[in-house]
């Protein structure tokens, strides 16, 4: 890919974010590496509790501390290690260089201020405009994110807007300072499909016009396919597979990724039974030895139960964390259903 020659915007190296709780240490993010190039969308996909949100909060410097702490690793943003910055320095980066939107926009909007006040405040802080200029700019931003009658809307309060509109307002706020990176944590999960389609289209078109990078966090493989250039699949605090979106869907190499893809119903293909991944995600306070997927993996054997696999290059630009990915390859060729149709 052309990426090779580009400077990395974000370079996360061996990031470990732990929570030191009374019951023990929760290794929410346990040694992950990834990078984001300018203008690309990196998708992060995984089930609830696998560490997606903690990853994004770590980049934003918003991990609740205590009990949380970045225990190890670096987060390089344009070459500067964010983990070494002071609170004040981080505040400057947040909202200026990096913005974030959340799953439930209601919790991140202040219910007692009007939409206009909230967007213009962000603009005043980051662009140093006067109140009047900032209000004008707010109207422009609302227009850009497709809110009808923006002159009227700036005088309304968050509760007067629908979920889809609130998410648009969040996006407008996030973009008002021209960030280089937009982190979107499940931005469409609380929305209906037709509204989700509106928001995804909006994000794609804004990405094109602003040239920013997006880190898109979701549990929905459909959304991932729709919006990502490259994808990291997370399981139990680790990245288990990492490659470009087309390769991931055409040739998933990790048993977990393979399982996820087969466990969702497809619109264009009817099957009688879904191939479900058995069992449940292990408790983060009590992860198994060896590979963390071994409690659910149909390929698990010997070494999988004792030694944790490292993430390796299975092919160019395609990383996998599994002892047996080559065996899976063989099984896929022979059309073996690795997740049995158990009852």
């Amino acid at each position: 890919m052309a990426n090779k020659n580009k400077e990395k915007l974000v370079d996360v190296k061996n990031l470990k974010t732990y929570f030191y709780t009374e019951e023990g240490v929760v290794k929410a993010v346990d040694g992950i590496d990834f990078e984001i190039y300018p203008g690309e969308t990196l998708g992060i996909v995984g089930e609830s509790g696998c560490g997606k949100s903690v990853t994004s909060l770590s980049i934003m410097g918003l991990v609740e501390s205590p009990p949380g702490k970045i225990a190890e690793g670096e987060i390089l943003f344009e070459g500067i290690d964010l983990t070494k910055l002071s609170q004040a320095e981080m505040r400057k980066i947040r909202g200026n260089e990096i913005s974030m939107i959340f799953q439930e926009p209601m919790t991140s909007l202040n219910p007692v201020y009007t939409i206009g006040d909230q967007i213009s405040e962000a603009i005043i802080i980051h662009k140093g405009l006067s109140k009047k200029e900032a209000m004008k700019e707010s109207v422009e931003m609302l227009k850009k994110v497709g809110i009808p009658l923006p002159e009227q809307r700036i005088n309304e309060y968050p509760h007067q807007l629908s979920g889809g509109m609130r998410q648009r307002v969040m996006i407008a706020m996030a973009l008002s300072c021209d960030p280089k990176l937009l982190i979107a944590d499940e931005p469409t999960t609380a929305l209906d499909v037709t509204i989700q389609a509106q928001i995804l289209e909006l994000m794609n078109s804004l990405k094109a016009s602003y040239g920013m990078s997006i880190m898109m966090i979701t549990h929905d493989l459909g959304v991932i396919a729709e919006i990502s250039d490259r994808v990291a699949v997370m399981y139990a605090g680790k990245i288990v597979e990492y490659t470009d979106v087309n390769t991931l869907f055409a040739d998933p190499k990790h048993p977990y990724t393979w399982g996820l893809m087969n466990s969702i119903p497809k619109l264009d293909r009817d099957v009688n039974r879904l191939q479900a991944i058995p069992g449940i995600v292990p408790n983060p306070l009590n992860f198994p030895d060896g590979c963390k997927f071994n409690t659910r993996c149909p390929l698990a054997e010997g070494k999988c139960f004792t030694d944790e696999p490292k993430i390796v290059d299975a092919a160019e630009g395609h990383k996998v964390r599994c002892w047996r990915y080559k065996d899976l390859e063989e099984m896929k060729k022979q059309n073996v259903k690795i997740y049995e149709e158990q009852r």
Partner: protein
């Protein structure tokens, strides 16, 4: 010819909106507004639509967890809405419900044995405690939970396991119809598949009929035989699932289907992006309720309400475009 187990005719459920010191009714939320459909014995009818369109209200009104404003619900020939308390209790044995939220829908202070056993007690289906517990044990095993879980409380279970408990509770009285209101929406994808498979196995083994309410169209397509699409209190289209996906008639169905993100990056879908949001059910648009957002609306649409009718092979729809 398929036999109808449940028939719903012109069902309405309006919730009063009250205001002022005298709590006068100033308006109505027309949550379900003249809805008709049927479910055949042994099949799964999927009921889809966006948040607030009236899916749950429809389900609850059928079971009389909410009292209907108007209409008819016929279950095995009996008019459910006019049953007295005693007959209603009896018929509830045949009609059970599973809820979306596996966290909120189970009493946190009851053990699993009591949660699953309660309906058995209510309907006097066991001679004594021992027989009741035997039954509970069997059902729990049937839904993939060992009997070692019987003495535990809901908070000790994962979301998927809690949903299994909910399913076990519904099954305990050996019902004919299960209304499943978003039973997998709150679950992770890998767990969703487990619960969907379970529901399908149980349907085969016990000859169950499902009304499956959901907003995830891929899931609904997988599990249903037929699908009904709701918009703002009305069913706008109903057909065999393959028919509905291959040849959607209603512009709302068309845009809804086009909006589904597919897990295939090579597919670039032609999207029909709808403008704006769903209007309020308190004051729904005139004529066809979809007209303010409909990309194909013409003059008639804002004036006259289209009739929901059969365009052949049980493919129902309500749209003026179809009447040429």
């Amino acid at each position: 010819m398929a036999e109808k187990l449940l028939e719903v005719n012109n069902l309405k459920k309006y919730f009063p909106v009250k205001a002022g010191i005298f709590k006068k009714t100033v308006a109505y939320v027309k949550a379900v507004d003249d809805v008709s459909f049927f479910v055949n014995k042994g099949e799964t009818l999927g009921l889809v639509g966006e948040s607030g369109c009236g899916k749950s209200t429809t389900g609850r009104t059928i079971l009389r967890l909410l009292e209907a404003t108007a209409g008819e619900v016929i279950f095995e020939g009996k008019d459910v809405l006019s049953l007295n308390k005693e007959d209603l209790r009896n018929i509830r044995r045949d009609m059970q419900i599973i809820f979306q939220d596996p966290y909120a829908s189970l009493n946190p202070r009851m053990t699993v044995a009591d949660i699953v056993g309660e309906p058995i007690d209510i309907h006097n289906l066991a001679k004594n405690k021992k027989e009741r517990n035997e039954k509970v044990k069997d059902i729990l095993e049937r839904v993939g939970l060992g009997s070692e879980y019987m003495r535990r409380y809901p908070h000790e279970f994962s979301g998927g396991q809690r949903q299994r408990i909910g399913v076990a509770r519904a099954l305990a009285v050996d019902p004919k119809l299960i209304i499943a209101d978003e039973p997998v929406s709150a679950l992770d994808v890998s767990i969703q598949a487990q619960v969907i498979n379970l529901l399908q196995d149980l349907q085969k083994d016990f000859g169950l009929t499902y009304l499956f309410i959901a907003h995830d169209l891929s899931v609904v397509k997988h599990i249903s035989d037929r699908i009904a699409v709701m918009y703002l209190g009305k069913i706008v289209e109903m057909a065999d699932k393959t028919e509905l996906f291959d040849d959607p008639m209603h512009p709302y169905t068309q845009s809804l289907l086009s909006a589904i993100p597919e897990a295939d990056p090579t597919k670039k879908k032609e999207r029909i992006i709808l403008e704006g949001d769903v209007p309020s059910p308190v004051d729904p648009p005139s004529g066809c309720r979809f007209h303010p957002r409909c990309p194909k609306a013409f003059d008639k649409c804002s004036v006259e309400e289209p009739v929901f009718k059969d365009y052949g092979d049980n493919h129902f729809a309500a749209c003026h475009l179809l009447e040429e």
